[in-house]
């Protein structure tokens, strides 16, 4: 037989999709005849011997875990070839057919009208001219840059923020600050109990994986899905950890409305709680501990403030309502006897709590309340002591690597050419800012908008007490927004009340929207000009795979795998192209080549102490050794636990503030985020409980997780993942719908069968979905992941692609907290009848005429005139 060539070359990549620096989920990409032939796990032993790399191990009950000698990417990472070659790739610059900068702009047709191909010259000129015009007519701050997060992992060509560099050089711009989605409760709640943390999650968190492994008897997975969310950041190590903990006989209890993918295989017990009712459950546990004297009174006396107020509230002295298990059971749907058993197990067994961003408790209305109550629970059991920690599971707390100062995914000391683009994602660094959760109000505003705290990822606790206004004073350059530049956008499907945003983007006040993105999806459909960005497979870069949770940190040179598709350029090159319109090419590139930048990154990592530049260039990667003394790193808040006077927390009192005097002083009338954490039934902002009168019309609660088969909005068009039963459901009409999980009892009472096309709705609109009738969700709740690719059936009203966030609540987390609320809200689900579908078809013919193939969903030709050529 003739020998077969299996590849021409192998290049390395971070296949993670968390964006920023820090890489993660490494892989190897084989290229043959100029095309990607396969994407596979990275074999760490490709150029290095295992015995030459110092690893780590953890042991409990005679069982041991250590890093695997290959990476563990998730399914969309391995299938990434399908994104590179997606039928949705934007191959050339596009302009909306009925947008004319010198005539009618027809903004009311955004999200409806199609696009036509234009040249790069024409595109750059349009963008340059519009910026100049808007600056002249209104001022610099009339240009809004959407600072976003997540996306592909690239260091030199990082998405999201290069435009900010150009605009800043031109005098400034309005920054849309991305509130840290998936951290809401900790950011606006936990920070006020134990200090800054890491966006509010418990921090320092050194070595907590080891400490929990060695000392905890039980871990509560409170909304955590270790089999889903880690995939997008570091891959599947958390899965191995959970199997190891089972072998080591560490009990794993899952508290979540849905049998999430971790619960499905690892749970020793599943406690199905109603979405966003965790505060009731937590209060009942505190009640039991006080009643049965089952908490660490000594620790509470020396390490906390405000226990007396908590006790008065919980035992009923404050409002006449003791927060008993009977009281809680009605609110949270967990049987009384199970609540009592959980309270006793929690206090009897050494217990840690695990999260991984999502689940039912952290992204709902008043999320700061359950987040603070969790701090109280852990505080009452001796937080910081052996085995008592709060985890962002494996994201923090993995063994320290030698020569790695920290594992933060972004290093503020890195040079400006690399750091400034990321500023827009993490810092409110411009004069005029607007939180992402309020953008639709900024566009359609009556008067000035005020908000407390920008919500920026890196903002300190104190910022939450600053009052901001939009617009800022006219003398300071304040003005309304008239142009939007968006990079890798996903607001409609990932943020609050997407339907409202769709309509806001059609406002004639916004005269020009330019988007840059590799794929024609989501918010790109509302742009007037779209610039084709390329993927990480089409650029040279360097990755530091040191992101939290990487089991085998490394540096890798990421050589270009293939030539750019079509006329696409990297996000960085796109901005340089526009920069030419302002003679800013030199300023933006700093005269440095990619090769220069790669070496600079290695230098900033302290590379010369680790591996020579020559060796790194030759071998393409270098693996960090685990620090010899990593086991000695003080675990979590152990110092505070042992000596709270010598090692105070970063709070005003230095203690765990069950009662926050600073909250009381700053917001004395705040009924949603009171000085001590409470059960909040409803407020002027949110009325989403089963007790609401609205529940008569919308009798179920919606639960929404991070996508199993996506990372937020990324990867929804991969044909191979779309064959998985919980990824998409093929409707009778040939359209692949986003699955909505519902219990058989709820389906039966509505005449819904598995596979039916259904509508999920409330006053905010309708979302079509496919019914996945299952025992994996408790009655009273339906579950549908956020991030499905937007397909407007009727703009602002009916969504066919399954983007559930189009009908999530509009208001922010609470009056003074600009987080978003994307689950735990009231809806109903009904079967879509044939007549209804026919009527929609009659009323919205263009929506049904878009070119569609169920394998990948809507394709490029659906939106582009002449696209099939």
């Amino acid at each position: 037989m003739e020998p077969i060539k299996t590849k021409d070359k192998t290049v390395l990549r971070s296949l993670g999709l968390g964006g920023y620096f820090g890489g993660g989920a490494e892989g190897m990409v084989d290229v043959k005849d100029g095309k990607i032939v396969r994407v596979r796990p990275m074999q760490y032993g490709w150029k290095y011997d295992k015995k030459d790399v110092r690893q780590w191990s953890m042991t409990r009950n005679g069982k041991t875990i250590s890093p695997s000698w290959k990476s563990l990417p998730g399914p969309f990472s391995l299938a990434y070839k399908k994104r590179v070659y997606s039928p949705n790739r934007i191959k050339y610059p596009l302009k909306r057919v009925d947008w004319d900068p010198n005539g009618d702009r027809n903004t009311q047709n955004r999200g409806k009208s199609k696009y036509v191909r234009i040249s790069w010259d024409e595109a750059s000129k349009i963008v340059g001219d519009e910026i100049k015009r808007v600056h002249k007519e209104y001022g610099h701050n009339a240009v809004l840059l959407q600072g976003d997060g997540h996306g592909e992992c690239k260091t030199i060509n990082t998405p999201h923020g290069h435009a900010g560099v150009l605009l800043d050089n031109l005098g400034g711009f309005t920054l849309q600050v991305r509130n840290p989605d998936s951290w809401e409760g900790w950011y606006w709640g936990a920070k006020h109990v134990w200090g800054q943390g890491a966006q509010g999650i418990m921090y320092p968190a050194a070595n907590i994986v080891k400490d929990t492994t060695e000392h905890a008897d039980m871990v509560l997975f409170w909304g955590c899905d270790p089999e889903t969310t880690p995939w997008g950041f570091t891959g599947q190590f958390a899965s191995r950890l959970c199997y190891f903990w089972t072998e080591a006989e560490i009990k794993q209890i899952y508290i979540c409305p849905d049998l999430n993918y971790g619960a499905a295989i690892h749970a020793d017990k599943w406690i199905p709680v109603l979405p966003n009712t965790d505060a009731a459950l937590q209060l009942a546990i505190i009640y039991m501990w006080i009643k049965e004297d089952a908490y660490d009174k000594e620790y509470v006396a020396t390490h906390t403030v405000g226990m007396d107020k908590i006790e008065a509230y919980v035992m009923g002295q404050e409002d006449g309502v003791p927060k008993t298990p009977a009281w809680a059971s009605k609110k949270c749907g967990v049987p009384e006897w199970t609540i009592k058993a959980l309270a006793r197990e929690f206090s009897d067994k050494i217990t840690s709590i695990a999260h991984y961003f999502g689940g039912g408790m952290i992204r709902g209305a008043f999320a700061h309340e359950p987040a603070r109550l969790e701090c109280v629970l852990l505080g009452m059991q001796g937080l910081g002591g052996p085995g008592v920690h709060q985890h962002q599971l494996t994201y923090f707390g993995m063994p320290r690597a030698e020569g790695l100062g920290g594992t933060f995914f972004w290093n503020p000391e890195i040079e400006e050419r690399l750091s400034i683009p990321v500023f827009s994602s993490v810092t409110a660094w411009q004069d005029q800012v607007i939180p992402k959760t309020l953008i639709q109000h900024a566009i359609n505003r009556d008067g000035p908008i005020t908000f407390s705290g920008t919500g920026a990822q890196n903002a300190l606790v104190a910022d939450q007490f600053n009052e901001y206004t939009f617009p800022i004073a006219k003398e300071k350059g304040g003005c309304d927004i008239h142009m939007i530049w968006t990079d890798t956008p996903c607001r409609i499907t990932c943020w609050n009340y997407g339907h409202e945003t769709e309509l806001a983007m059609q406002s004639s006040q916004i005269e020009f929207i330019v988007a840059q993105h590799p794929w024609l999806e989501n918010d790109c459909l509302y742009a007037d000009v779209i610039l084709p960005a390329n993927t990480f497979m089409e650029v040279d870069d360097i990755l530091t795979n040191i992101r939290q949770g990487t089991q085998q940190p490394n540096i890798m040179i990421a050589d270009k795998a293939i030539e750019p598709i079509g006329e696409s350029m990297s996000d960085f090159e796109i901005v340089v192209e526009i920069g030419k319109q302002f003679d800013m090419e030199e300023a933006l590139t700093d005269g440095k080549t990619i090769a220069d930048m790669q070496k600079k990154v290695w230098e900033y990592m302290g590379g010369e102490k680790l591996v020579t530049w020559e060796q790194l260039l030759e071998k393409k990667y270098w693996i960090y050794n685990t620090a010899e003394d990593w086991e000695e790193d003080t675990p979590g808040l152990r110092n505070f636990y042992e000596d709270p006077e010598k090692f105070p927390l970063g709070t005003p009192t230095g203690k765990l503030e069950f009662y926050s005097e600073s909250l009381e002083k700053a917001f004395p009338d705040d009924m949603e985020r009171p000085p001590i954490p409470k059960w909040i039934e409803k407020s002027e902002n949110h009325d989403e409980r089963m007790s609401s009168h609205r529940a008569k019309m919308f009798p179920m609660l919606l639960m929404s997780n991070h996508g199993r088969w996506r990372v937020h909005a990324q990867c929804d068009d991969i044909t191979w993942t779309r064959e998985a039963p919980t990824c998409k459901i093929l409707g009778y009409d040939g359209y692949k719908y986003e699955p909505v999980w519902m219990h058989p009892s709820e389906a039966e009472s509505r005449g819904i069968k598995d596979g039916d096309i259904v509508k999920i709705f409330n006053e905010r609109g309708i979302v079509l979905a496919g019914a996945y009738v299952t025992e994996r969700i408790r009655p009273g709740v339906v579950s549908i992941d956020h991030g499905a690719r937007h397909d407007p059936l009727k703009t602002g009203e009916i969504e066919r692609g399954g983007a559930i966030n189009t009908i999530s609540p509009g208001p922010i987390t609470s009056k003074n907290c600009v987080g978003n609320v994307v689950q735990g809200y009231l809806i109903d689900v009904q079967r879509v009848t044939g007549q209804e579908m026919d009527q929609w078809r009659k009323d919205n013919p263009e929506a049904f005429a878009r070119e569609y193939h169920p394998d990948a969903g809507l394709i490029f030709n659906a939106w582009v005139v002449g696209g099939e050529k």
């Binding site: 037989m1 596979r40 899965s239 499905a264 199905p272 006897w337 009592k340 058993a341 191979w720 039963p725």
Partner: protein
């Protein structure tokens, strides 16, 4: 000879084996080992998932299914064009150049492992990535095994896996084809519940639970844990049981428990006074 070894107790259902196989064999031509499979619709290795039980005692089991590279392969026997061969290493390959598209093998395969490609008019199935094993020293296992993050999937010399094999089962033993895919921990039925005192509203801990097969008298026991939970696992299919719950002299009996599916008996009240 090579074989596959699948331990379902650590299959986390990530679908990466299914995807890695597509990554290798969609739009890649490895003639004479295999021609490209269509973008969707074929599953040379595919996951079947089973949701088992009822709220709140629910589990999901995942079973990767693939060509069994049988020693007594019916497809080889049926093929009238000598297009299917068993290699020395045990892998069974359909030669895409010799295949005439008669579909007999696909119809015959008792494991539903052979797919028909309408466009190319050939039968296709798992090749064990023989093209990689033969041509690239870096590859000693197929794509599906290479990526498996939990090592649920393994591949190697049968002789090296004697320990695995002695506890293993076949997925379709009734086919009698001498399969080369060995499974451990195929899902078996469970019965579970929570025992509680409806007066005190407390779970009952330490109750003795006895599950008796009404036909053959087999008896299984369990004790309720600190959540009042009891579990009986690895029960045979379609058996009928009677359950007796016993605590402090108080008893409760539940009859006609049938394991045609996995069962949650829910929260069971038992008065203790």
């Amino acid at each position: 000879m090579k074989a596959f070894f699948i331990d379902l107790s650590i299959c986390n259902g990530c679908y990466c084996c299914q995807i890695a196989c597509k990554d290798e064999h969609v739009a890649n031509d490895w003639t004479p080992y295999a021609k490209p499979q269509p973008d969707t619709g074929q599953f040379w290795i595919g996951i079947t998932e089973q949701v088992r039980g009822q709220v709140p005692k629910v589990k999901v089991s995942y079973i990767p299914k693939m060509c069994q590279h049988c020693d007594d392969a019916p497809c080889i026997e049926q093929c009238e064009f000598d297009a299917i061969e068993k290699r020395e290493d045990g892998l069974v390959i359909i030669n895409p150049d010799k295949c005439t598209g008669c579909k007999l093998c696909a119809d015959t395969c008792p494991h539903d492992a052979i797919f028909f490609n309408e466009n190319l008019n050939i039968a296709q199935k798992c090749t064990g990535c023989a093209h990689l094993l033969d041509n690239d020293a870096e590859w000693t296992v197929p794509r599906c095994v290479d990526q498996c993050p939990t090592e649920a999937l393994k591949f190697g010399e049968e002789a090296d896996f004697a320990d695995f094999i002695k506890d293993a089962e076949f997925l379709n033993p009734e086919a009698g084809t001498k399969s080369r895919v060995f499974y451990k921990n195929l899902p078996k039925k469970f019965v579970g519940g929570t025992l509680y005192d409806p007066v005190e509203k407390e779970v009952i801990i330490g109750a003795t639970c006895t599950l008796k097969d009404t036909e053959n008298g087999d008896t299984f026991t369990a004790t309720t844990d600190n959540f009042g939970d009891f579990w009986f696992r690895k029960l045979d299919d379609d058996r009928t049981f009677t359950l007796t719950l016993d605590k402090g002299g108080k008893q409760k009996t539940i009859e006609n428990i049938v394991t045609d599916k996995d069962l949650s008996l829910g929260d069971i009240p038992m008065g203790l006074v």
